[in-house]
């Protein structure tokens, strides 16, 4: 096997990290560094090798690390995720890419019945240090079978951890942290965020993997969001501020576990909260947050926690309908105003 060094690789090989990067590049750097540090880290997935990954995330790694550490697989989701589980049991640190979350449904046996349960069922003898990276979310007119969000399914599984980075910096941090952790971790990536730019400093002290982050401080209402909804909430907040409404925005970052202390701290100040989620409303992460805040922060809340979520429909193809099926800046503004009343002062 020839392992040629390829300096033409995405951003790998550039002497100095750029101050601004796109999400895919940050993920790429995280993988490269993890593979450089630990020869037990290897990648499995469809078109992750020669092709470089559907969203470029593994670009250049095949040339650098060879086919055994960057393995193109056949279209056999349940079995190649299962291979990841088996390799993790034997001592490896596989990072499996499932091309999109929609196809992860075929791998649920490996994820839920195996990866999540083996440590417990074996009385703590086995460990499954497996990372599963999955693009998902509503992108652009991909139709109902290619637009799913499965947060609600994954966060309900004891044994799994689920993180959802939205920025290049978080993508780098959380993927790096997931790879060194000893549990099966699902890294949800959003298809519309891969080419989003943001500040990137690989040397900065990382936030803990499961911490939420305040993206905007405000006094009047807390918006709790993750993935693409964070950016929409930020846009809404900018517009609302011109009308005198001061919104606080929390990027949840981790969906299991959730950073309840930070959420509590925020609602203690704002006394109102809205969860903005791209996943369907029924039985989702928003429901969990709303119920829990209702239980533990009841006295701090001036109104019940509200949920602004996707409509409970399969995602339509038509662009207008598709847009209408998930929260947008407008509906976020509307939801906030319903809560606070438009300010004129």
């Amino acid at each position: 096997m020839t392992r040629q060094r390829n300096d033409n690789v995405g951003i790998i090989g550039t002497a100095r990290p750029a101050p601004e990067l796109e999400v895919w590049q940050a993920l790429n750097i995280a993988l490269d560094r993890a593979m450089e540090r630990d020869s037990g880290v290897f990648i499995l997935g469809e078109d992750v090798g020669l092709f470089g990954g559907s969203y470029r995330v593994t670009q250049g790694l095949y040339a650098k690390y060879g086919e055994w550490r960057v393995r193109d697989t056949p279209i056999s989701e349940n079995s190649f995720v299962g291979i990841g589980v088996g390799a993790a049991l034997a001592g490896g640190r596989p990072v499996v890419e499932i091309m999109t979350i929609n196809f992860a449904l075929l791998a649920m046996d490996s994820i839920i019945n195996m990866a999540a349960k083996l440590r417990y069922m074996s009385g703590g003898q086995l460990q499954v240090p497996l990372v599963i990276r999955v693009p998902g979310g509503v992108a652009k007119q991909l139709g109902a079978q290619h637009s799913q969000r499965l947060e609600h399914t994954l966060v309900n599984v004891p044994g799994l951890r689920v993180v959802a980075p939205a920025t290049p910096q978080d993508s780098y941090w959380q993927l790096s942290q997931a790879i060194v952790a000893d549990d099966p971790i699902i890294v949800l990536e959003h298809e519309l965020l891969y080419f989003a730019k943001g500040p990137f400093d690989p040397g900065a002290a990382p936030l803990p993997m499961h911490a939420a982050a305040v993206r905007r401080e405000g006094r009047d209402v807390t918006l709790i969001a993750w993935h693409r909804m964070v950016a929409l909430a930020m846009e809404a907040a900018a517009q609302l501020s011109t009308r005198g409404i001061d919104v606080e925005i929390i990027d949840l970052r981790s969906l299991r576990p959730i950073d309840l202390p930070l959420l509590r701290e925020s609602v203690r100040k704002t006394r109102h909260a809205i969860v903005v989620e791209e996943d369907c409303r029924f039985g989702g992460v928003g429901a969990e947050i709303a119920a829990t805040l209702g239980e533990v922060a009841h006295s701090d809340l001036a109104s019940p926690v509200r949920r602004l979520a996707a409509s409970d429909v399969p995602t339509p193809y038509n662009a207008e309908l598709e847009r209408a099926s998930i929260p947008g800046t407008k509906s976020i503004i509307q939801a906030v105003e319903e809560l606070t009343g438009p300010r004129t002062d």
Partner: protein, 325 residues
């Protein structure tokens, strides 16, 4: 055949037979809960094949795996204690009959979803190959599991990447109550191997020596870097699918015919005839095993219950609402 190996075969098959009978008794007494799948009739498969592997190899099995665990070195007491759900069980009481593990021996289960063993074994094999190891993986599965997508998906990948996995089919002719001609268009399971360019063969799974020899050759093939191999062991289970099944869908004639080929009886006669063992040897083994099984039951019954509900869900205690860190 060496006397030592003959004694080992006889010991292990006797242990398998007596242990499973004791498990059935304990189940009837209410000391074992849940699903309990027993192995009588199939002993020659696990015993013959596992003794052809090296202690450094890995074993992945199904929910019908008590005997595989014991032959691979897990003590009968630790297995029985696991069936009782006790803290001294080989999975600490958290796994049960279908989820036996012993990491120190590379015994990796114990999978209760039909068809899961394939990818686990291939994953271990991938890791071994990546590390240029000479260890191999033994992967057990039933005739019914050969209809699961994971069988075909994994055979393809294992062949494509030449993974060191030996697939061993325990063809007992039934997928619960559905006989193989009613569940498989190609009831010769070994023939599936050729679809993926893998070598495969059929062997009489009631004959421990035949299983052993076939497996030795297959192990050699796999260990030498030739990629996977598939052995189909044709066997039979005497009892129902699990303790919840009387097996009423089978004719008395069918059962009688297969019982006439009892792997334990056949081997005993052969070993006596060939002079590998004498009658006194056999009786000594039977007596020893009786003691071992009785001790396993006593140990299990007297062992403490596990008490920590929340341990080992994660690598560290994780408060789902604590968030940080």
């Amino acid at each position: 055949m060496q006397r030592k190996l003959a004694r080992q075969f006889f010991y292990d098959m006797t242990l398998a037979r007596q242990f499973e009978q004791a498990a059935a008794d304990q189940y009837m007494q209410g000391n074992i809960g849940g699903f309990l799948h027993l192995y009588p009739g199939e002993e020659a498969v696990a015993v013959g094949s596992l003794h052809a592997a090296e202690p450094g190899d890995y074993v992945v099995s199904t929910y019908r795996e008590h005997v595989h665990a014991m032959v691979w070195g897990v003590s009968p007491s630790a297995v029985m204690a696991e069936l009782f759900g006790r803290a001294t069980g080989c999975s600490g009481g958290y796994g049960g009959s279908m989820h036996l593990y012993d990491v120190s021996r590379r015994f990796l289960g114990g999978y209760a979803i039909v068809g899961e063993t394939f990818a686990i074994a291939a994953g271990v094999g991938y890791w071994l190959h990546l590390n240029d190891s000479t260890q191999i993986v033994l992967c057990y599965f039933g005739d019914g599991a050969a209809n699961q997508g994971t069988f075909h998906e994994t055979l393809n990948m294992a062949a494509l990447w030449k993974l060191p996995v030996l697939f061993i089919c325990e063809n007992n002719h039934y997928q619960i109550g559905t006989e193989i001609h009613r569940h498989s268009a190609v009831p010769d399971i070994y023939r599936h191997a050729s679809a993926y360019g893998i070598d495969g063969r059929h062997v009489d799974g009631m004959d421990v020596v035949a299983v052993h020899e076939a497996t030795r050759a297959a192990v050699q093939h796999v260990r030498s870097g030739n990629g996977p191999y598939l052995i189909e062991c044709e066997t039979y289970r005497y009892r129902g699918h699990s303790m919840a099944d009387s097996g009423a869908y089978r004719s008395a004639l069918e059962l009688a015919e297969l019982r006439a080929r009892d792997p334990l009886e056949i081997f005993r006669e052969r070993a006596l005839g060939q002079g590998w063992l004498n009658e006194a040897d056999c009786q000594e083994v039977e007596k020893t095993v009786e003691g071992v099984v009785a001790e396993a039951v006593r140990f299990a019954a007297e062992s403490p219950q596990p008490t920590d509900l929340g341990k080992d869900v994660y690598s560290e205690p994780l408060d789902l609402y604590g968030g940080r860190p």
